[in-house]
Amino acid sequence: MLNDRGVDTMRTVFFLFLALGFSAGCGSSGPGLPLTPVTGTVMLDGVPVAEAKVTFFPQLETKGNGGWGITDASGKYALKTPQGGTGVPDGAYKVTVSLRRNPDGSLPKPDEPPIESKAKETLPAIYSNESKTTLKADVSSSAKQFDWSLKAKGK
């Protein structure tokens, strides 16, 4: 048989679990968009380009905010979303490939804001300028490798 004190203990234990139950309900995060991992290479006149920035701009009904990747020494890139996810959502994209260099030919420092940097674009505008680019990509689960063969003189 429970005396008064036993009932009190049971009650406090009950409230303890109730409180724990409430606190366990906090902290969840919404699901993100499904992403397709996109990779590829950038070649300029047949030579791999290192440190070029490949940017995918979403078009038409494409979801998300696009993505970008930087090429390594063998010209390979892999896209990331601005939030750091791997790949981009499926859909149509306009693509730019940009390679900026300082007047002395060196690469700009990675943490120098581009808008305040003296570095200039070295690739033709039909690849590097968002409003003039001719590069396009349709990303889907069957198309996730995009290789760009660029020519230094444009066409």
Binding site: R5, D8, T9, T12, V13, F15, L16, A19, L20, F22, S23, G30, L33, F57, P58, Q59, L60, E61, T62, K63, G64, N65, G66, P82, G84, P89, P110, D111, P113, P114, I115, E116, S117, K118, A119, K120, N129, E130, S131
Partner: protein, 328 residues
Amino acid sequence: MTLVFSARRGFTLIELLVVIAIIAVLIGLLVPAVQKVREAANRMSCTNNLKQLALACHSYESSYGRLPPAGKGYGWCASTAGGTGDTSILNMSGWVLVLSHLEQSALDSQLNKAACFSNLNTAWCCGFTGNANGTVAGSVTVNGALSATVIKTFVCPSDPGLATVEYNSGGGQGAAINYDFIASRSDSGLGTNTNGCNYWNRAGASRYMFGENSATRLSDVLDGTSNTFMIGETCKNVWNGSNLSWAYRSWVMTGVDPNGGLNIWYTPTGGATQYGNLSSWGQAGSIHTAGANFAMGDASVRFVRDSNSSTILSRAAMMSDGTVNNVE
């Protein structure tokens, strides 16, 4: 005897531990709750500021028949002599014209609207050309000094960012603003390098409600004022470029352009994402979780989620592109 003793005995160790555990759990619940309440209050005050600004724009519209421009007389956009640039370089922000509708008449009367608000007449750097068609109007001294005035309605209390503007006006550093007109980044004239000034006049169907020398009537908003972004929220910390001033427009300080997405934060190479530090100029964002506030053309304020894609956001910014607003 034993009964009397047991009835008067103190707490057992278990009981004490249970009580301590309960107190610990309650404190654990309460402290984050207090922080949340503080942010909720700041957020409400932030939303209210935006509402005040939207109403002030409507009040301006009822006085003059048109909404204020995002700015006047940009000196840092590209223009050849005889080109699209304004002949008188003022670098004035449209908020200066709205001050008297925000109960800031005293400040309004001290500003000299015939003189420039920033004396920049070239691009900031890097071989971009400035407005070669204009000359700087008057001296920046008076307006430059007054631009440091902090006006509470222009500041979102949730944002711990810089209180001053990164780019100097020539007459001093202005006070930062958390809200700005929806204007296209193309207002900067970047990428044209010949005649980029007054882009709004040439924007056609992709016109936003504001731009350099814009003069939108509410009846021009064919997509419906309740569907079109009018004023957007932005952050006081910006990595690539500058935050915004209520008084002047300087190199790439065009306004807020939701195209490109909300809350796109700067991540240094090999470092952690810097929440509250926007990755580039002209972007919309806030540190309220998962979105930012926007005032629509009808002066209603909406919390727009950062899960919206760039294409949907830019359609909501264009005032007469004829597409349905799917913003969530």
